[in-house]
């Protein structure tokens, strides 16, 4: 155990040492009794704002939130009271950790000490105050046992295994901190209401003043949670987990570091199914939201799931990433008894099942490790050098994109296009494009558009085909005016029919049904986006099921636009997923008529090229089949594995392909991705290369761990919101280049065949650009699926093993940059929307 001098050893900062030592010199601080408790502890840091900043949210209702203070408290180590020593250099931080308590105290429990907490909070937060006030010792605990109660706790820092720190972000109103103890317990999540917090506001101002850098260590906006980390780092070793960037390990052991160390991140998995009740401490029917409008989980649930996730990570660490099963863990004598005990706990067993299978879980774990090395390599900012390095990586064969078209370096090309640059593409006199369309598309494909300067508003209309690339400013203006008129006319048409009852009863009924369907979906589309969040106006239709909750003007516009689209394209009808496609366009354009025509442009390609929404699902089937061929050609080993796992139907990509990864990426990334895809710069089916890129990234993990369709489906479904867009885009580009070269190589070889006896039908067929329907549906010979082999070139030879490689028409189509529209008759042929 540490002596008193040791525990006051400064953590490396001279200023800290000054304060600590000066305290020491003041003598036995614990002999100074606190007036009310008779025993005092030193209050080093505290955080709240009066009564409003740090909260426990026992329920999702804000009125139940408990305000209080989070505080770092120093106590005199009981075992070392009478042993003053001067030598401190040999003591470890871990020893000191026992004397510090991280506490959360409801404001109501503080009594006289309240003023001290406020005073400490508002002092310069970068170091403890010189005259550390003494406050009554809070009751020390190492586990959180009462599910719902007063919540007060003080944990010895030495007992803290890790902190789960969630900064505030879009859709998460408040940042939060969850304390996980070494014994496997978790305390209730502490939520930082920073907007109400005086000390955080002061700290932010100070940072801006001194450094012109209002960002915390990780580049994120400064918030209260950062400060907790800063406090702790002064006294103990705090290390960011390699497996989950939101987990910080306190005084990690060597094994901990092996399992969690480093700086990389793992896929977050807030969506893993799990019950709320469990060993992590908080439970109760109210923990889940009945009032939250967040489309995802309410923060409490989310934080809890995260906590449970990190708990499981802990368990997995003892498995050393092998596929050892839970059973083996229990029987393994090397596993510490406390972990073994935990594993036998029925609650924990339930928890394991919630991850569906240990395999899916371990797969995610392994992926976290793989991501670590990848991230370290690419460091998120891609320079030409990084791209060159990727050439040698597993993606392989990455080609530097053609840079001759302009003088920009590749790094420059990967910067977002600003409004200024956009305007420079057009001549100033008539506003006509003065560079080639390809140049513009290349810039947008590679760099995207600036998300905040308004350039998307204009540029998206070009990308979506509303504006002709060749138009002048005047022509565009005139065009938009007539489009506005047409929008009003279309809107009026259904309105009349539905509201005024013009038209037969059956038709009126159909429109009402469509309206109800649209309404249901609009009310559950992107409600976490501020634009669609409010419920501030009464519903125009008192009979609507949503009359009680209210609506907002943007939701109403969304409904009208979707109904108007029904009027515009009656053959298709409303299909689920359309609201997902419209929302970003509307959010960018913020004008219903303009957004409508942008949506029409998007639907033209989705309903025609991709044919995503046809009744017979032929478009979706074709895309899944094309993906099948693509994987066969590009990664046959993976393909064979998927085949053995009954997963070559690729159904787990259905959602991604139907709404273009809308559910897989964060909102901001979706906008970025879509504008790249709209350019058709490399391929009009580039979204399939995104799918391939996602699959390739996880290929090793899938092959190693996932053996069945349900496991693969669960794993892929839960990648949602864990996928890094920039690296995925890069990988997709590399894969496209490789695909292109592979096709060229196959064509070349087939055009100049080696004179072997076996190749009786050398040239021609595979290179024929217009394949017939009887052509190959298999990408590569010999790996063909048995049900799709009929009519393949060379089939008549009857000797399967020696046939030449064939590029299927589906694959060849991927080389095209053209969007070929299916006319309305085509839509009808495929069942359209009206069941013709």
């Amino acid at each position: 155990m540490a002596d008193s001098a040791a525990k006051l050893t400064p953590p490396g900062s001279p200023t800290a040492s000054f304060y600590d030592l000066s305290d020491d010199e003041e003598g036995e601080y614990n002999t100074i009794m606190h007036s009310s408790s008779g025993r005092g502890v030193k209050l080093l840091f505290s955080k709240s704002k009066r009564a409003t900043q740090v909260y426990v949210h026992p329920t999702s209702s804000s009125k139940d939130n408990i305000p209080g203070f989070i505080a770092l408290i120093q106590q005199k180590n009981p075992s070392t009271d009478a042993r003053p020593q001067t030598s401190s250099s040999t003591s470890s931080k871990a020893d000191r950790a026992t004397s510090y308590l991280l506490a959360w105290l409801p404001e109501s429990s503080l009594g006289d000490a309240f003023d001290s907490y406020v005073k400490v909070e508002l002092s310069d937060a970068s170091s403890p105050p010189k005259n550390t006030p003494l406050v009554p010792q809070p009751p020390t605990t190492t586990s959180h046992t009462t599910p719902i109660g007063t919540y007060a706790f003080a944990v010895p820092v030495s007992e803290i295994y890790s902190l789960l720190i969630r900064p505030p972000s879009l859709g998460w109103w408040f940042g939060s901190v969850v304390i996980n103890t070494r014994a496997g317990n978790s305390f209730p999540a502490l939520f930082f209401h920073d907007n109400e917090c005086q000390s955080t506001i002061l700290q932010k101002k100070k940072l801006v003043r001194e450094n012109f850098d209002p960002f915390g260590e990780d580049g994120g906006t400064f918030w209260g949670g950062d400060e907790i980390l800063r406090w702790l780092k002064r006294y103990v070793v705090v290390e960011k987990s390699g497996a989950d960037p939101s987990v910080y390990l306190i005084e990690p052991t060597v094994e901990d570091k092996l399992g969690f160390g480093g700086k990389a991140s793992a896929p977050n998995s807030p969506k893993l199914g799990s019950k709320i009740a469990g060993p992590m401490g908080i439970q109760g029917p109210n923990a889940a939201s009945s009032s939250s409008r967040d489309a995802g989980m309410d923060p409490v649930t989310k934080a809890l799931k995260q906590a449970r996730w990190s708990f499981l990570e802990k368990m997995s660490q003892v498995t050393s990433f092998t596929r050892r099963t839970a059973q083996e863990i229990v029987e393994n004598p090397k596993v510490p008894p406390q972990v073994r005990r935990l594993m036998k706990n029925p609650e924990v067993q339930t928890l394991q099942e919630e991850f569906d299978s240990a395999r899916v879980y371990l797969a995610r774990w392994a992926m976290g490790i793989a991501e670590q090395s990848e991230r370290e390599r690419s460091q998120r900012i891609f320079t030409a050098q990084d791209v060159l390095e990727m050439e040698d990586s597993d993606v392989g064969a990455f080609e530097i994109l053609d840079m001759e078209a302009s003088n920009l370096s590749l790094a420059e090309k990967r910067k977002p296009v600003s409004i200024k640059e956009w305007k420079s593409f057009f001549d100033t006199k008539v506003g006509r494009l003065q560079v080639t369309v390809d140049e513009v598309k290349e810039r947008i494909f590679l760099g995207g558009l600036n998300p905040s300067d308004g350039v998307r508003k204009e540029a998206w209309l070009f990308l979506l085909g509303v504006y002709d690339w060749d138009s002048t400013a005047d022509e565009r203006k005139a065009m938009m005016n007539s489009k506005r008129d047409e929008f009003v006319r279309l809107k009026g048409a259904w309105w009349e029919r539905m509201v005024d009852g013009n038209g037969n009863a059956e038709e009126t009924e159909w429109w009402k049904e469509q309206k109800g369907r649209i309404e249901k979906d609009v009310h559950r589309t992107d409600r976490q986006i501020p634009l669609f969040e409010g419920e501030d106006i009464p519903h125009p239709d008192p009979d609507s099921p949503f009359a009680e909750v209210g609506t907002n003007v943007h939701l109403e516009q969304m409904k009208d636009m979707l109904l108007t689209y029904n009027e515009y394209n009656r053959d298709l009808g409303y299909v689920q997923g359309m609201s997902d496609l419209l929302a970003p366009i509307y959010a960018v354009e913020q004008d219903d008529a303009v957004a409508f025509w942008g949506f029409v442009g998007f639907m033209d390609r989705m309903a025609s090229l991709e044919r995503n929404f046809l009744r017979d699902q032929s478009g979706m089937r074709t895309q899944l089949l094309t993906l099948d061929h693509l994987v066969q050609l590009m990664d046959p080993t993976l393909y064979l594995h998927l085949q053995s796992a009954d997963s070559t139907n690729f159904f787990f990509f259905f959602r991604m392909l139907l709404v273009w990864y809308k559910r897989e990426f964060e909102w901001v990334d979706v906008l970025r991705l879509w504008e790249s895809l709209w350019t058709d710069y490399m391929s009009s089916n580039f979204h399939l290369f995104i799918a391939l890129a996602i699959l390739e990234k996880h290929r090793d993990v899938i092959m190693e761990h996932l053996k069945h369709f349900d496991e693969v489906l669960k794993y892929v479904n839960e990648l949602s919101n864990t996928i890094d867009l920039p690296s995925t885009l890069l990988r997709a580009q590399a894969l496209f280049r490789r695909f292109q070269r592979t096709v060229e190589a196959v064509d070349k070889r087939n055009n100049f065949p080696t004179p072997t006896v076996r190749q009786r039908k050398p040239a021609a067929k595979p290179s024929s650009p217009k394949p017939s329907n009887s052509g190959a549906t298999s990408a590569v010979d010999g790996r063909r699926r048995p049900d799709s082999s009929a009519g393949i070139d060379g089939e008549e030879e009857g000797k399967g093993k020696d046939k030449e490689k064939v590029i299927s028409p589906e694959l060849r189509q991927l080389l095209s940059r053209k969007v070929e529209a299916l006319d309305k008759n085509g839509v009808k042929d495929h069942g359209g929307g009206v069941g013709a």
Binding site: S290, A326, R359, E506, F651, L658, D710
Partner: protein
């Protein structure tokens, strides 16, 4: 996976019904005991797991959730085959989800509004013979909006010859009961009547459909 199972039986269930009737909400209530009023629409297919205890046996339920809109039926029917039990869900506040009298305006065909009868005949057509079914009327807490009475629900269930229950995912009424009762029926049908220790043979033909679940368990060892 041998030796790692901590359940005695695996039962695969499927939720079907029109879009917006609350299939995902029922599943969320059952699997995580939570509710969110503005759930996102389900696109494609997903499943959740919950293990329950029936007659002293640990029964792992794998419950598949599908997109409701008729448009996606070609995808979702692929999942019927492996299911051992099917929950047909309608919304007691939405007549159309229960019984759509509406004919399609332009062609006379029914299209995007499959009611319970349509779902039922889909099940008969695509699911394994003898699959257990239950009729579920969701949102029964919302009395002021109710348009389908308990009696009509019961009547339809009787007509179809399947059990019936009204539930509320929001108010947590009967959701547990519905899943438990369906699971118990399945256990009775497949497990209890099975003389051998081989469960899966009767339940799901694993080899037949490439998307069925080959982890379908037998007895735990």
């Amino acid at each position: 996976m041998a030796g790692t199972r901590n359940y005695d039986f695996l039962i695969k269930l499927l939720l079907i019904g029109d879009s917006g009737v609350g299939k995902s909400c029922c599943l969320l209530r059952f699997s995580e005991d939570s509710f969110t009023p503005s759930f996102i629409t389900t696109i494609g297919i997903d499943f959740k797991i919950r293990t329950i205890e029936l007659d002293g046996k640990r029964v792992k339920l794998q419950i598949w959730d599908t997109a409701g809109q008729e448009r996606f039926r070609t995808i979702t029917t692929a999942y019927y085959r492996g299911a051992m039990g099917i929950l047909l869900v309608y919304d007691v506040t939405d007549e159309r989800s229960f019984n759509s009298r509406i004919q399609y305006p332009f062609s006379g065909k029914q299209a995007d509004m499959p009611d319970i009868r349509t779902w039922f005949s889909n099940v008969e057509q695509h699911a394994t013979e003898g699959v257990n079914k239950i009729l579920i009327g969701n949102k029964c807490d919302w009395e002021e909006k109710r348009v389908v009475s308990v009696e009509r629900g019961q009547q339809l269930a009787d007509e179809l010859g399947i059990p019936f229950m009204e539930v509320s995912a929001k108010s947590n009424i009967n959701v547990e009961k519905a899943f438990y009762s369906l699971a118990a029926d399945i256990k009775k049908r497949i497990i209890d009547t099975s003389k051998t220790e081989q469960l899966p043979a009767q339940g799901v033909n694993v080899s037949e459909q490439n998307n069925s679940i080959s982890t379908m368990g037998g007895k735990c060892c």
